[in-house]
């Protein structure tokens, strides 16, 4: 059984314009540059054993992004490997932590359950005092249902996103939310803000001009047993620090 390592990283500044596939390519090469002893598949075109948690859309800053790798061997401590990777990063990418996963922990992609987002008004594109914003966000979240149109590849369906918004607050002009994330019931913060704009601000949601800046702060898994209430743990905390 090969060791699995979970890497947490930040994607900031203009690197927010790099798409998910290119982020994967970037880290595949970074891992080679940093001499991490990553495991490869068999065959004529071996590829690295790597699995990303949740793709982040173009234009979003990520402060708690994750991927898992399988390695043939662990060289040094968490800190050593983190430094090796950070020595080869470009501005805008930074490895925050690197941890070994216990054997029974599912991989990053299948464990994603929720994510925290921070949303701020882009420049002064919406004229609204922090106090007003806060009140309207509270009113918006206090609705019994929040019915939105959710577009899938095939069709558009009506969906109540209220139960998928685990929290929503706005303080000093900074709006924070925790949203259901992952392969089922994936909710994007843009969808929440679009509905908010249309129903509580009475304005059309646009991307030109941009109304909001989005940042994903953290990604969580749910460790609750069946029947228990939701219990969120960061993907990072599922791993253990490798001591030198």
């Amino acid at each position: 059984m090969r060791d699995k390592i979970r890497v947490k990283f930040e994607k900031t500044g203009m690197m927010k314009f790099i798409g998910h596939l290119d982020v994967m390519r970037y880290f595949q090469k970074a891992i080679r540059r940093a001499n991490i002893d990553i495991a490869y598949s068999e065959g004529f075109s071996p590829h690295q054993k790597m699995s990303f948690a949740a793709p982040l859309g173009i234009g979003l800053v990520g402060m708690g992004e994750y991927f898992d790798i399988e390695v043939y061997s662990i060289q040094g401590s968490s800190e050593d490997m983190k430094n090796a990777l950070n020595n080869t990063m470009v501005d805008g990418f930074k490895v925050v932590s690197l941890r070994k996963l216990p054997e029974n922990v599912p991989n990053a992609m299948s464990s994603v359950y929720a994510a925290d987002y921070t949303v701020t008004i882009h420049g002064d594109n919406i004229k609204l005092s922090p106090k007003e914003l806060s009140e309207k966000i509270i009113a918006f979240y206090n609705q019994d249902t929040i019915i939105t149109e959710k577009e899938t590849k095939k069709s558009t369906r009506m969906l109540d996103i209220k139960p998928l918004i685990y929290s929503l607050t706005s303080v000093d002009g900074v709006t924070k939310m925790c949203l259901s994330t992952g392969s089922t019931d994936n909710i994007k913060p843009e969808l929440v803000m679009q509905k908010f704009c249309e129903t509580y601000l009475g304005i059309e949601y646009t991307e030109d001009p941009i109304l909001f800046d989005y940042q994903r702060d953290e990604v969580y898994t749910n460790v609750a047993k069946e029947g228990e209430a939701m219990k969120l743990v960061t993907l990072e905390d599922m791993g253990e620090v490798i001591e030198g």
């Binding site: 203009m14 390519r25 970037y26 090469k29 080679r32 540059r33 470009v90 501005d91 805008g92």
Partner: protein
């Protein structure tokens, strides 16, 4: 971090915003206020294409080794961003500092293929630099062209201040020093250009030459305006390929570039002397890089980039004398670390089949042969040393080794070509298919043989023995492809054969651009005014607009394409000394018509003109 030149709204709207952001691994960062010279290096096509080009990476690395120079990059904005830049009057910017190109000292543009010429105008216009060199004032960057197309720069002469004729490694430092000196003396643009033309070998400043024409449209004279400016511009050659500039830390794009791999140029030039091949003539003599130098480079480039593939690059890799040592080194040392090895342009023999079976999946890969002509007679005309026997032996060996896919490349429209020569393309393809069924017993076959023959149309290029040859009309070219296609369909094994041919529109235009004179710049300008851009991309190429441009400017395609030029005619590129002499080219043209083969450089010296310059291969014996 640098602030992007484009605001978020634009970056979110356009396709692949990463093309315009820079910040790649191994990008050079400098404080632009701390350098004396700012150089913008441009490949006039999309980022993915331009980033795949080794030459720019060599010059980028070379210029940035100096503390007083900051070399940055710029590529053609896609059509979506092009529109926005025009609408919002945003000047084209460099990737590194995201600052307007018009504020730089130099704008270097590499000319790798003729169909990028309208993109050159796009780059200039979006940079807010006047399209014509004569309209630029002292504040504008000096626009300098390089690359293989500068062996006839005349069709774009009006748009450039300087052309650097030859290999980039040799004269840039000297030119930069002279530029600094001129600047410190307060010289203006015209004086600086004249000094460069006078003092730096390989530099052609078109404004300093005057061309007159005969009544029949051919050139009557081509002379420098000043006595101090050389009448012949001599191409620059890097003689020591193992002690020269090579980027140990090449740039690593975020998006997948055409060459998403480490490129190792193992040698420059070619010993073969194929008469249609411009690269084989202008990069003479062949110069190998030392194998130890290459091993070291391969390892350091893989380490600094993290690329998962390395590709050997040269015109004919099989002719590299240390190939076995290099390839087995790569297989032993880097393949074990999950790195793929890609080996283009290998002759098919026991060695290459062994190597290919180690580095590729036989079931998926195919064998490639480039006979270029279907008949032995025509292969003799073009001096392609590949015989039918070599092809069939190579193919048989490969079939026994498990391959069943073969790709064949041919040209149509070669000098002296007959209908028989065209049909021989189908006959040779069929022979290879038959060979597969004869060689491999039924129970060992992996399905049918898959023979794919592709033809392109031959375009005569300057400084080749075929530079005097005529071309044909679009309809003639299509007719030639039809002959091949009909013959293919009539072959016994036609179910195992596939035939592809190229469109002929672009061929005709490329012909005019390749051998045109200064008057052709009017057509290029007019085509651009009519909206032509990205002509190398079939989805944006508009033949109608180009034809309109010829009509509007009164320039005749036939004059440039359909004349067989007289051997005494002054050719637009005659002012360049490309190493190979005109006597040699004439001799080779004559031998071609006599169907005589000329041995390769290693077998015998053909006295092409390079020997007196002191090439190692020329003086081996």
């Amino acid at each position: 971090m640098i602030k992007p030149a484009l605001r978020d709204e634009i970056l979110l709207k356009i396709e692949k915003p990463v093309r315009y952001l820079g910040n790649e691994v191994n990008m050079v960062k400098k404080d632009p206020t701390n350098v004396d010279i700012r150089f913008a290096m441009c490949f006039p096509d999309l980022y993915e294409i331009g980033m795949s080009h080794l030459g720019i990476q060599i010059i980028y690395d070379m210029l940035n080794r100096r503390d007083d120079i900051y070399c940055e990059r710029v590529y053609s904005p896609g059509l979506d961003l092009d529109k926005i830049l025009r609408e919002e009057n945003i000047p084209l910017f460099s990737l590194e500092t995201q600052e307007p190109v018009k504020n730089f000292d130099f704008l270097g543009i590499t000319l790798q293929y003729e169909m990028c010429y309208t993109n050159v105008l796009q780059i200039l216009e979006l940079s807010q630099i006047p399209l014509l060199a004569k309209d630029r004032d002292d504040d504008m960057p000096i626009v300098i062209g390089g690359g293989p197309c500068v062996y006839n720069p005349e069709p774009v002469a009006d748009f450039f201040d300087i052309f650097y004729i030859g290999e980039g490694e040799t004269r840039y430092y000297q030119m930069m020093d002279l530029y600094k000196k001129c600047k410190s003396e307060g010289l203006g643009r015209k004086e600086i250009l004249k000094k460069i033309a006078e003092e730096i070998p390989g530099m052609y400043v078109p404004a300093l030459y005057e061309v007159t024409y005969n009544e029949d449209g051919t050139i009557s004279s081509f002379e420098p305006i000043y006595d101090t400016v050389p009448s012949k511009v001599k191409k620059e050659i890097e003689w020591n390929m193992s002690d020269t500039f090579y980027p140990e830390k090449p740039l690593v794009p975020f998006i997948k570039a055409t060459q998403d791999r480490v490129v190792l140029e193992i040698q420059r030039g070619c010993i073969r002397g194929c008469r249609f091949c411009q690269a084989g003539m202008i990069y003479r003599p062949v110069r190998e890089r030392n194998v130890e130098f290459l091993k070291k480079l391969a390892v350091s480039m893989l380490e600094s980039t993290g690329h998962e593939e390395i590709s050997l690059s040269s015109l004919s890799s099989s002719d590299y004398s240390q190939l076995k040592e290099l390839v087995y080194f790569l297989i032993d040392e880097v393949r074990t670390k999950g790195v793929n090895i890609s080996l283009p342009s290998l002759r098919i023999d026991a060695f290459s089949l062994d190597v290919m079976s180690k580095v590729q999946d036989i079931k998926k890969s195919s064998l490639t042969f480039a006979p270029e002509a279907g008949s032995q007679r025509l292969r003799n005309v073009i001096n392609k040393g590949l015989t039918e026997e070599i092809i069939l032996n190579g193919a048989a060996e490969a079939f026994r080794g498990g391959w069943n896919k073969v790709k064949l490349y041919f040209m149509l429209g070669l000098p002296t070509e007959t209908e028989e020569d065209m049909e021989e393309i189908a006959i040779l393809s069929d022979k290879i298919a038959r060979l597969y069924y004869d060689t491999v017993p039924k129970e060992e076959r992996h399905g049918k043989a898959q023979i794919t023959a592709s033809t392109s149309f031959f375009i005569p290029k300057p400084f080749t023995p075929f530079q005097w040859a005529r071309m044909y009309d679009k309809e003639d070219y299509i007719g030639k492809a039809r002959v091949v296609n009909a013959k293919m369909k009539s072959m016994l094994n036609h179910k195992s054969l596939k035939y592809n041919w190229h469109e002929a529109d672009v061929t005709v235009l490329e012909g005019v651009m390749a051998r045109g004179d200064r008057r052709v710049s009017k057509v290029i300008l007019e085509a651009y005014r009519l909206g032509c851009m990205f002509d190398a991309w079939s989805e944006s190429f508009s033949n109608d607009k180009w034809m309109q441009a010829f009509e509007n400017t009164g320039i005749s395609i036939d004059f440039y394409n359909k004349r067989e030029r007289d051997l005494d005619e002054i050719l637009p590129w005659d002012f360049i000394d490309a190493g190979v002499t005109k006597e040699f080219l004439k001799r080779e043209w004559k031998r071609a018509l006599e169907e005589k083969v000329t041995p390769n450089c290693r077998a015998a010296c053909a006295n092409c003109g390079l020997k007196p310059l002191g090439g190692a291969i020329c003086n081996e014996r």
